[in-house]
């Protein structure tokens, strides 16, 4: 049936189709501008990735050899192994060459390739934050639209209120609290890591083992971030609620929840999409705290340890990777938003 498509979209789509010609050029320019912006940001990140970590005080060799009682010859040996005896400009070109070949040199601490380390940890972070992101987005959007539809109701007050409370709770504190109660005292969930010290060997056991390790960190992350999705969905739907097309839909005799789900919500989703993509980048970067508390072997924990090292090549690597994720996510948000919202296309 034709009314499955919200009328508003079809109306705007037709009018957009009317100025096909300028849109094509506009689209290309829009794409180039956004891509160019992303490329410049990335270049800045790469430059900063080198110089910011070079001007930090302290001698990497001294830190690595801390309390080790090394002779001057041994320290020199180590300096050579780490490539620190080369002049700064040469180190910079080595670094540039490395970055463009997807390599970040050798970690001071782990003595293995930074790219490999990041590769190993990357998917663990994606698993954890991805799960948390999906749950937080689903929960936030679902509660958000419900709250908006019944705005002012007790449901609205409770849903918005609790989400804001969780949002303002320090992540570290909430994570530790969950760890102490459900890990240490009740022992319902493991106290850390991604797999048990003696993991099961059968496939189902392995999956369940990882899931049980994921519960506490995921709950922490969801609790802390779902409020932002809830609030944006809520306010965005509130704006739609007075719109004429909803009256039309109701006039057609559609049930109230269908009016909401099939007509109001899709339109209210537009601003939310941008937000979601922008926050996925932030969520991954925000994994540092949660991964550190729950000893989850991901990029966040790797970064935390690189800081305590300090392991400069590894820090450069995680810095560039985190920044790249955020830049790419913002770029995707821009492009998708343009695709979804014709008003941006015409502008």
């Amino acid at each position: 049936m034709s009314n499955a498509v919200p009328p508003s979209t079809s109306v705007i789509a037709t009018s957009a189709a009317a100025d096909e010609q300028p849109t094509g050029v506009g689209a290309l320019r829009y794409l180039l501008v956004k891509l160019g912006g992303a490329a410049i940001s990335m270049a800045m990140v790469i430059l900063l990735g080198f110089f910011a970590f070079k001007i930090l005080p302290g001698d990497p060799v001294a830190s690595v050899a801390r309390e080790r009682g090394m002779s001057a010859e041994q320290a020199e040996q180590l300096r050579e192994q780490l490539g620190l005896n080369k002049p700064l400009w040469q180190q910079f070109f080595d670094y540039l060459g490395n970055v463009f070949t997807g390599n970040f040199g050798t970690s001071y601490v782990y003595r293995t390739s930074v790219a490999e380390l990041i590769g190993d940890y990357f998917w663990n972070t994606i698993l954890l934050t991805g799960t948390a992101a999906i749950i937080a987005i689903a929960l936030g959007l679902w509660l958000g639209q419900k709250a908006a539809w019944k705005h002012g109701s007790t449901f609205d007050k409770i849903a918005s209120g609790t989400s804001l409370v969780f949002w303002s709770v320090p992540t570290f504190w909430l994570a530790l609290l969950l760890l102490m109660v459900f890990g240490g005292t009740l022992h319902w969930f493991p106290t850390g890591g991604m797999v048990s010290p003696n993991p099961p060997t059968d496939p189902i056991g392995v999956v369940l083992d990882v899931v049980s390790h994921m519960v506490l960190p995921v709950v922490t992350m969801v609790a802390v971030v779902y409020a932002q999705y809830l609030m944006v969905m809520r306010s965005s739907l509130l704006e739609e609620m007075g719109a004429d097309y909803l009256t039309t839909a109701r006039a057609k005799g559609l049930r109230e929840d269908l009016v909401r789900r099939r007509h109001a919500v899709p339109n209210a989703l537009l601003p939310t999409v941008t937000l979601v993509f922008m926050h996925i980048g932030g969520l991954i970067a925000g994994a540092v705290t949660v991964e550190t508390v729950f000893s989850w072997p991901g990029l966040g924990k790797l970064t935390f340890e690189a800081i305590s090292g300090p392991d400069l090549p590894l820090l450069q690597g995680t810095f560039v990777v985190f920044s790249a994720i955020i830049i790419v996510m913002n770029l995707i948000a821009d492009l998708i938003y343009r695709q979804l919202d014709p008003r941006v296309r015409r502008a």
């Binding site: 601490v109 530790l176 010290p197 000893s295």
Partner: protein
């Protein structure tokens, strides 16, 4: 009508999902039980699980410099001479006995009979010769322990059981200790020993050998059945990674791990009296001090740095000591978990430690401190801060903003100093800035400390003039406090070649007393190492030193060598089963929820159409 078959598919899918979700939770516990029962010998209750957050660079004993792998290497490779559990003095290792000739310049070791590598190959003098010569000839293989062989001239292996170390100069510290000996037949076959990770199929000679390693997740050691002192009483040691130390405490409480080390006093107190857990406060091998800038200079006496002129006067430095109440610091800052310090050799090495009874030791005495400052010509000004030739007695103290102890010490230290007429300005910064400033001599006072080995030679050596930096940026040498006293250097040379242990002990005490009087530092305490373990599961740890010492981080392999499972102890980690069950429930709920969602959705769409 077309809809009907589709919704039937959905419904049967749902049924299948619910059924499987229910099935999942049932076999979980059964399966978890099989893990403990089915595996042949290594039942989980003979695996000692230790919480760690330590960095691992590599398990290659030639180049590994971090604490965690170095500790593992101690368990994997026996050295020629071992540090005794009693007091760290040299005792049997691979070598049964040793002879010192040429006034300490030639050391001849005789290996024990019938020694075997963990793969069954015999251990011979060729292995020792190979190991030492690699370190002496390949610079990259000297990264970890190069300083221990720097005095080695050559190594002879006249027969399978004899190793002769020819030294450049006579030395009293046993040259066979602290160097892990690797199997020649394995390492010779390695293409590039300098990059060899050595983390799988390791062949060793210590009580345990490395079985597996997963970066940042776990390190597993298994018992070496052919270890010469006899196989350990547990099957495995597993280091489990916890980034956060509070998480480690929770893991111990939950029974996820059996041993936790490096606790803070607060964590330690919280674990006291917990069922099944025993806390242990052991004398550590680390000293803590307030390092004083005595006037940094290079080996060629070129001064550098920004140290206060006042501190070049020994009387001012002694006044700092007299005005510092280390007893109060120990009690209030460290909650008494430690020993009041005298010098930079901790009391856990009683043979070398400078006794509290020594004549030079002074107590907390602000009046005497004031008298010293008076003698030095510093007279109190209008506000009580002393002055001399128009200069105020103001000193900078660097503190690490992240170190709670340093902040607390400063809170006591500043008023104490004000009391005797010294103004202290506290500069709170980060640890990297502090180490950079310490190297370049850009400080008056900062908090310092080292972990000390059973033989004091190294620690004494870095207090000699010959170890001062070569450049005015503070590089080119390792110095503990920038200390330089020719008299101390003379005694250092003397003790290094004094083969008679008692005479050597006496010289070392004299050196520490001299350093104490010169006051290049005020040693505050030897902090105890706070540990806790599941005493309902394990017992029989050997401490080092034997009476008051520590379990983990020993200068030896005694701690886990003798540990044994408590009889009738249940396998730990029952909660992991709970976790698995709940994991199953979570998966089940997600599946059911998903199916229900799609069912409802289908129905609604059907409604619209």
């Amino acid at each position: 009508m077309r809809l009907a078959p589709r919704s039937r598919t959905v419904r049967s899918l749902a049924a299948a999902a619910i059924a499987s979700a229910l099935l999942i939770s049932a076999p979980v516990s059964a399966q978890a039980r099989t893990v403990s029962a089915a595996t042949e010998s290594p039942a989980p209750d003979t695996t000692l699980r230790i919480a760690t957050s330590g960095f691992v660079d590599t398990f290659n004993p030639f180049i590994s410099i971090y604490l965690a792998p170095t500790n593992v290497i101690r368990y994997v490779y026996e050295s020629l001479v071992q540090n005794d559990a009693e007091d760290g003095s040299p005792t049997k290792g691979l070598a049964d006995s040793w002879d010192v000739t040429d006034g300490g310049q030639t050391w001849t070791f005789t290996l024990q009979d019938g020694l075997e590598w963990s793969d069954g190959e015999p251990i011979t003098s060729a292995d020792v010769k190979y190991t030492y010569e690699q370190m002496m000839t390949v610079p990259a293989l000297g990264t970890a322990n190069g300083n221990l062989v720097s005095n080695f001239e050559s190594i002879d292996a006249p027969d399978e059981k004899t190793v002769v170390i020819n030294l450049k100069t006579p030395q009293a510290p046993n040259p066979g200790s602290e160097i892990p000996v690797v199997p020649k037949h394995i390492w010779e076959a390695v293409d590039d020993p300098t990059t060899f990770a050595n983390d799988t199929d390791v062949v060793g000679s210590g009580p345990f050998v490395l079985e597996s390693y997963a970066a940042n997740q776990s390190i597993v050691l298994k018992a070496n059945e052919t270890f010469w002192r006899g196989a350990p009483k547990i099957d495995r040691i597993q280091y489990v990674y916890y980034t956060n130390s509070d998480a480690q405490v929770q893991a111990l409480k939950a029974g996820d791990v059996d041993l936790v080390t490096g606790l803070t006093p607060t964590q330690f107190d919280a674990l006291e009296g917990v069922d099944g857990i025993t806390t242990h406060s052991g004398e550590g091998r680390r000293y803590h001090s307030i390092s004083i800038n005595v006037g940094q200079q290079t080996r060629d006496n070129v001064p550098y740095g920004t140290g206060s002129e006042a501190l070049k006067d020994v009387e001012v430095r002694q006044a700092l000591r007299l005005g510092t109440d280390t007893k109060t610091l120990l009690d209030k800052v460290l909650a008494g978990e430690g020993v009041q310090a005298t010098s930079f050799i901790p009391s856990s090495f009683p043979k070398w430690h400078l006794s509290d009874e020594d004549d030079v030791i002074v107590g907390f005495d602000p009046e005497a401190a004031k008298a010293k400052l008076d003698d030095a010509g510093w007279v109190p000004g209008a506000d009580g801060i002393r002055e001399k030739d128009g200069a105020r007695l103001t000193l900078r103290l660097l503190t690490d903003a992240e170190d709670v102890n340093e902040q607390s010490i400063a809170d006591f230290f500043v008023p104490w100093m004000k009391d005797i007429g010294i103004e202290i300005t506290v500069e709170s910064t980060d640890s990297d800035t502090i180490s950079a400033k310490a190297v370049s001599g850009d400080y008056d006072l900062y908090f310092s400390g080292w972990s000390v080995n059973p033989d004091p030679d190294y620690q004494l050596g870095i207090n000699t003039c010959t170890n001062l930096p070569t450049a005015t940026d503070g590089t080119g040498g390792t110095t503990q406090d920038g200390y330089c006293n020719p008299e101390f250097d003379e005694m250092y040379a003397e003790q290094r070649s004094e083969i008679d242990p008692e005479k050597r002990q006496e010289i070392v005490h004299d050196m520490l007393a001299l350093n104490y009087e010169d006051t290049a530092q005020v040693a505050t305490w030897y902090a105890n190492s706070l540990e806790a373990y599941r005493s309902d599961r394990f017992t029989g740890f050997t401490l080092q030193p034997k009476e008051t010492g520590i379990i983990a981080n020993q200068a030896g392999y005694w701690g886990y060598l003798t540990v044994e499972p408590v009889e009738g102890a249940t396998a730990g980690g029952t909660g992991t089963n709970t976790g698995l069950i709940i994991g199953g429930i979570v998966v089940g709920v997600v599946l059911i929820g998903g199916v229900v969602f799609f069912l409802i959705r289908r129905r609604n769409i059907a409604d619209v159409e």
